[in-house]
């Protein structure tokens, strides 16, 4: 069993020097079909939920919708984490702030 794993690791290591890793950086083309050793750094392309699902209106009353974009402590989650486009983030922010004002969403967690 240990031999097997070792063989696997050497197989995984061997293509990396031959691959154009120097220069291309961590986002460079990785060897296909690898055992997923560098899969940790793979980032999925984020897409705007409102654009893809064609949600036109972001009403302040829709707590379920807004809650997805509010962190545990009540913060508005930044665009870079959620992938929402600029236009929709602006509307979302406004809706969340309105919802906070009418006690549908918290400004911060209790206590």
């Amino acid at each position: 069993m240990p031999e097997e794993t070792q063989a696997k690791s050497t197989a995984a290591d061997s293509p990396s020097p031959s691959a154009p890793s120097p220069g291309s950086g961590p986002r460079g083309p990785r060897p296909a079909g690898g055992p997923g050793g560098r899969g940790k750094f793979f980032r999925r392309k984020k897409v705007c939920k409102f654009c893809t699902e064609k949600i036109d209106a972001i009403p302040y009353r829709d707590v379920r919708l807004l809650q997805q974009f509010v962190a545990e402590r009540g913060k508005i989650v930044p665009r870079r984490l959620t992938g929402v486009c600029t236009t929709h983030q602006r509307r979302l922010t406004r809706a969340i702030k309105q919802a906070r004002n009418i006690a549908l969403l918290p400004f911060a967690t209790r206590h």
Partner: protein, 136 residues
């Protein structure tokens, strides 16, 4: 020029149903007396507040959609402020948003209908079909 507003307010939870109805009717009458129109009155029921308001943990939400001028809204807000059972309220102007939504809907409709049924679309609205290729 009358505009569409949404007035949402929270009534204290320990209020009797009839009293709440009476109060809402009073607010509706202030709108109609001022020359506005009450489009819908929706009682969203009792729900938990996200934070404590006037030592209350929950409240009865009421949503009022009205079409009125600025002074009417001002008067309504003044009344909401002075009436004791109302613990919180918010007024949101909706007409711009509605206009935008209608526009988006129209755009989407033309885009979707244009490729399969060009003939009918041309017959129905030549301006719309002209706009569709430009936007596409």
């Amino acid at each position: 020029m009358p505009r569409v507003y949404e007035v949402m307010f929270i009534l204290r939870p320990d209020m009797a149903e009839e009293d709440a109805d009476k109060l809402i009717a009073g607010f509706a009458s202030t709108v109609t007396n001022g020359g506005g129109v009450v489009k819908t009155v929706e009682k969203m029921g009792r729900r938990k507040l996200a934070y404590v308001v006037r030592k209350f943990n929950d409240g009865n939400y009421v949503l009022l959609t009205i079409e009125a001028n600025g002074p009417v809204v001002l008067e309504l807000e003044r009344r909401l402020r002075v009436s004791e059972p109302v613990i919180k309220f918010i007024t949101v102007r909706m007409d711009e948003e509605e206009k935008r939504l209608a526009k988006v809907k129209a755009l989407r409709g033309t885009r979707r209908s244009a490729p399969p049924a060009t003939v009918s679309a041309e017959a129905a609205a030549p301006a719309a079909t002209e706009a569709a290729p430009a936007s596409a």
